[in-house]
Symmetry: C2
Subunit: 251 residues, 2 copies
């Protein structure tokens, strides 16, 4: 059985939007994570409590489906709910609804618990997840993997990690990989296409001062949609991969 | 006489903070502008109303004084108040207070009204500013100018304008210049110094795809504080200049 649902209203601000006048996906993910952080805090298992145990949640994968991206001035309702957990992973769903109750964005997120003294994944203890009232399940949820970059056709853009790419954990914030992926597609592409889904898998942290390569390849499907496949490579180590499905606009 | 005061509480989020675990200054300015936008909207002179007249507020200068930067989890109160106006400029003050009522950050901001059909500054009409209940004054408020970069000693870093640097107006968002300025100082400098003030003057818009140069020079004052002087140059045109005063930490 899935766990308690927590929800919060959020007014979309101008500064949360990008050149398309819609909320940027990295910002929407930041806001969603804030909402689940608030649920955890209210259930007595917030980040500060985990920190005392030497633990911290890390995100392994986000699978995002987009009906439409809300615009500045809209008030959206974000809901979040733990779906299940097993000894290594927890699965959580986020939804964003507009004022008419229409579902705009749905996100499935896979988390693991990091023991940061040991620098490895920790077994998920009952007391950490019990407050969410979610059931344990031995079943691993198989989130589809991102489509692979076609390295023979891929374009490569270099990104130097900047000061504001780093968050309080002293690593590149997860949302910044998406900044790089979107930038590597370019403004013209983004303005002439509508994003339908985005699947992103985080592999390895990136530190300040690193120079990373963003690789991107495009392929057109039979139904006319375009898949962009992405990876971030940091000194030959894969840091993050993603794929997005795009629909041409004005056809 | 200064105008109506408008205020709003804001809870500082993790994703609004930088590697110092404090709210990033560009994000704080975004939030402050959102609060003044909300005041304008509630007074019936919001951005949409101005847009119908072909007008839009632009920021010419920000003069920022920092006691301390709030951290994630703090609830701050942001106040804003129009101070005065004349035929070309309006002057507005923002303050951020913490939960104990201590002043954390104070910002003086100079605005002009842009007529975007004519692409030039418009005369400030009485009906646009009357709702703020602020008095006209023929006196120009002389905001001190940023300290000049010492071009002989300056370091230069190139920045390619990225997709998420662009906002709905299709130009680089004002807050992004500050991202570049801070990045050009580097993480080590920012972690070992405390920012006391920041004065930034916006000169010329920057567009997507531009490659800009960020120039920075440092000088030490008699009292031990350090002034960093900055400019953004876009194909030999000055886009923005700023200076910041820093105090070494742990002395």
């Amino acid at each position: 059985m899935s766990g308690l649902i927590y929800q919060k209203e959020h007014r979309v601000k101008y500064y949360e939007c990008d050149a398309t006048k819609q909320i940027s996906i990295p910002m929407l993910l930041n806001i969603m994570l804030y909402v689940s952080g608030e649920q955890s805090y209210k259930l007595g298992v917030g980040d500060a409590i985990l920190l005392e145990k030497g633990l911290s949640w890390i995100i392994l994968q986000n699978d995002i489906h987009i009906q439409r991206l809300p615009e500045a001035g809209e008030t959206i309702t974000i809901t979040t709910q733990a779906l299940s957990y097993n000894k290594l992973f927890t699965y959580r769903e986020f939804k964003a609804f507009d004022e008419t109750g229409e579902l705009c964005v749905q996100v499935h997120c896979t988390f693991a618990l990091m023991d940061f003294a040991a620098r490895k994944m920790a077994r998920i203890a009952e007391d950490v997840v019990a407050p969410y009232q979610v059931e344990a399940s031995k079943k691993l949820i198989r989130t589809p993997k991102p489509e692979k970059v076609d390295l023979e056709k891929a374009a490569t853009i270099d990104y130097r990690v900047r000061y504001l790419d780093i968050d309080a954990n002293q690593h590149v914030n997860n949302s910044k990989y998406l900044d790089w992926f979107l930038d590597s597609l370019g403004l013209d592409f983004i303005k002439t296409h509508r994003i339908k889904s985005l699947n992103v898998k985080y592999e390895k942290e990136v530190a300040y001062g690193n120079m990373v390569q963003s690789k991107v390849s495009l392929s057109t499907q039979e139904d006319g949609s375009i898949i962009s496949a992405h990876q971030i490579v940091n000194h030959d180590v894969l840091s993050c991969e993603a794929s997005m499905v795009w629909e041409p606009l004005n056809e």
